[in-house]
């Protein structure tokens, strides 16, 4: 296992905080009725998004899920564009057409959240193929949940990527639940990482609350992919602190799991490590938090101030080229 340098670790700390505070703020705004739709946040799971993104270049690609804000924030997406989109504003990154579950920010390689689970698993090999044909040296990461791993596209996408040795990293965020269904009630054999062996590719299970462990596993997978040695599968075990969606009464689980999650808070954990090693002190941590909060408040202010789209804007953006309206 290799170790990230201290600067990178501090950056990852800041990035996790950015994801956490962004989503906590989004939850609050949702509860206050500022954000429409369903809202799935990844509070507690930040180490996965950040550990992955820290191992990637800006021009590397990410295919995300219904729970994708963290992936986008970690990848360096515009907080303004994202928050305005969550608000459904005209200058949201998708002009208000996508919203929480269908956001893309192509400028940072973020090819889209997705309302259909596991769909990214079959899109990824095509992105990999394009990378390979263009010899661009990029990689593509596709995220999916423990529940989504049981859909057919997982099988087809992993097989094709392995067969054609494509630069794809499959990252399963195992947060123990698919909505109200426990991982143990959905996944025969219990391990998603173990399924990699059947395709002759590396499959690794990591502590998804340890950003360094995630970063390390993804670094190795990314290096392998860039070398031309093909895909890897990483299963990151983590815990979501909040409901499946905002407003979920969570009748399916006890408080103890969330308590466990909080005890194993990935942000506090990294803060401890950095502090112990003298890489971060209270003043520095406070400065980071301050600047993150400022960024987020800027995004919120921007979103609040932005105009809603006009109804008839619904007719734009469908085609790049269309001869007439029929």
């Amino acid at each position: 296992m290799s170790a990230p340098g201290p600067e990178l670790m501090v950056e990852m700390y800041a990035a996790m905080l950015r994801v956490r505070l962004f989503e906590e703020r989004a939850r609050e705004l949702f509860q206050r009725g500022r954000i429409p739709g369903f809202l799935h946040t990844s509070v507690g799971q930040e180490a996965v998004a950040v550990g992955v993104a820290a191992a990637l270049r800006t021009d590397d690609y990410v295919l995300s899920t219904h729970r994708g804000h963290g992936h986008l924030v970690a990848k360096g997406g515009s907080l303004r564009g994202l928050m305005a989109e969550l608000y459904g504003k005209a200058n949201g990154i998708c002009h208000g057409k996508g919203g929480t579950m269908h956001i893309a920010d192509v400028s940072v390689g973020y090819l889209g959240a997705n309302g259909v689970l596991a769909s990214g698993c079959v899109v990824a090999p095509g992105v990999g193929l394009s990378i390979k044909q263009r010899r661009s040296g990029q990689v593509v990461v596709t995220f999916f949940g423990d529940g989504a791993a049981n859909r057919g596209p997982f099988h087809e996408g992993v097989n094709l990527s392995a067969l054609w040795t494509l630069p794809v990293v499959f990252v399963c965020e195992n947060n123990r639940w698919a909505s109200s269904t426990a991982h143990t009630r959905s996944t025969a054999g219990g391990s998603i990482a173990a399924r990699a062996a059947g395709y002759g590719i590396p499959g690794e299970s990591v502590d998804g609350n340890d950003v360094v462990a995630v970063w390390d596993a993804v670094m190795r997978a990314v290096e392998r992919a860039r070398r031309g040695d093909g895909p890897s599968l990483i299963e990151a075990h983590t815990i979501r602190w909040v409901g499946h969606f905002e407003g979920d009464p969570q009748a399916y689980r006890g408080k103890d799991e969330v308590d466990e999650g909080r005890r194993r808070d990935p942000i506090a954990r990294l803060e401890r490590v950095l502090t112990e090693h003298g890489r971060l002190d209270a003043a520095h941590a406070a400065r980071i938090r301050e600047s993150v909060v400022a960024e987020i408040e800027d995004a919120v202010a921007h979103a609040e101030a932005s105009p809603l789209p006009r109804g008839e804007d619904a007719l734009n953006d469908l085609f790049a080229y269309y001869p007439w309206a029929d």
Binding site: G96, G99, H102, N114, R151, L315, D326
Partner: protein, 322 residues
């Protein structure tokens, strides 16, 4: 009694599960009744053998229901959102719809597919679509589309008892709509349209949520002296062409109102049916109310722009009266 649409469906499930031990429910998160509460509490009465939470495997959920249906069980599948039928499309289109026919009638397939669908609450492009037109175009399936709690209960019961596969389209925005439901176990047959409001001036043929928007339009138009007849086909396959034609014979003017997009939709099919059966009765071209030809956008002003409503029905009625 008064029940909302979701509770009426829940009641239908309970009644049919009590009546026939072969009936079981399967879907994602249905034990807790997610996402719309329709299966809530069934687990307490019927236990985990008959209320099955499945993994996220739509092809296996729908495919296995087919396997069970042809070997002695009576599955009721919850599609979660109708949009996800795309993840089980071979199972519906090639296995469920075609097997009885291809096998020369050797197998019955008493399977019900519950399809929660429709625009609303900024669900966005992957959770809001009207896909019923695809299945109207697929011989071997029956397609129900109730608009009221009583019809929802009566049609779902009929669907479950039907020896053939039936898709029941349940509009998400109707689940909490309350209406009268008979105390008795009344079945609503497939292929029996219902005149939801009589009127002499214009026939509005509407499905699901658009029935309510059309009734609202009719109320408003009545204030101007325009009497709109609202006809709800209740099932698209089989289709009660006679009730539609009879209404046209009275009014001679027709609006077809649906939530799907204009192009190639179920409403386009209904408009054709009216043309075929009643061309000579028509005093004006048929008008259609439907969504524009785009996916369903997220932002509320965009979403309401594409979502057909009472105002659109009123405009269409005025148009055919011109």
């Amino acid at each position: 009694m008064k029940l909302d649409f979701g509770d009426a469906l829940n009641l239908a499930l309970r009644e049919e599960m009590r009546r026939d031990p072969r009936v079981y429910c399967i879907g994602e998160d249905i034990v807790l009744g997610l996402p719309f509460g329709v299966t809530k509490g069934l687990i307490d009465e019927f236990g985990p053998d008959r209320v099955l939470n499945a993994p996220i495997s739509e092809a296996a959920i729908v495919g296995s229901a087919f396997g069970a249906a042809v070997t002695g069980l009576v599955p009721v599948v919850d599609m979660h959102f109708a949009d996800f039928v795309t993840c089980a499309m071979d199972e519906v289109a090639n296995q469920i719809a075609k097997s009885r026919y291809m096998f020369g009638g050797q197998l019955d397939c008493p399977l019900t597919l519950r399809m929660p669908y429709g625009i609303g609450k900024s669900g966005g492009g992957h959770h809001s679509n009207s896909v019923e037109a695809w299945f109207v175009n697929l011989p071997g399936l029956k397609v129900a589309i109730p608009s009221t709690p009583a019809d929802a209960r009566g049609l779902l019961k009929t669907a479950i008892r039907d020896p053939d596969p039936v898709l029941v389209f349940e509009h998400r925005a109707l689940y909490r709509v309350v209406g009268d439901v008979p105390e008795a176990e009344v079945l609503v047959p497939l292929g029996a349209a219902d005149v939801k409001r009589p009127g002499r001036d214009v026939t509005v043929i509407a499905t699901a949520r658009m029935v309510h928007e059309s009734l609202e339009a009719a109320r408003r138009l009545a204030e101007e002296g325009v009497e709109v007849e609202v006809v709800d086909p209740r099932s698209l396959v089989p289709l009660d062409r006679e009730t539609l034609a009879a209404s046209v014979r009275r009014t001679h003017r027709v609006v077809v109102a649906e939530e799907g997009v204009m192009r190639g939709s179920a409403g386009a099919w209904l408009a054709w049916v009216v043309m075929e059966d009643s061309f000579d009765e028509l005093d004006a071209p048929i008008a259609r109310v439907a969504a524009p030809n785009v996916p369903i956008p997220f932002s509320p002003p965009l979403e309401s722009f594409v979502m057909p409503a009472a105002d659109d029905v009123i405009a269409a009625v005025r148009h055919v009266l011109k």
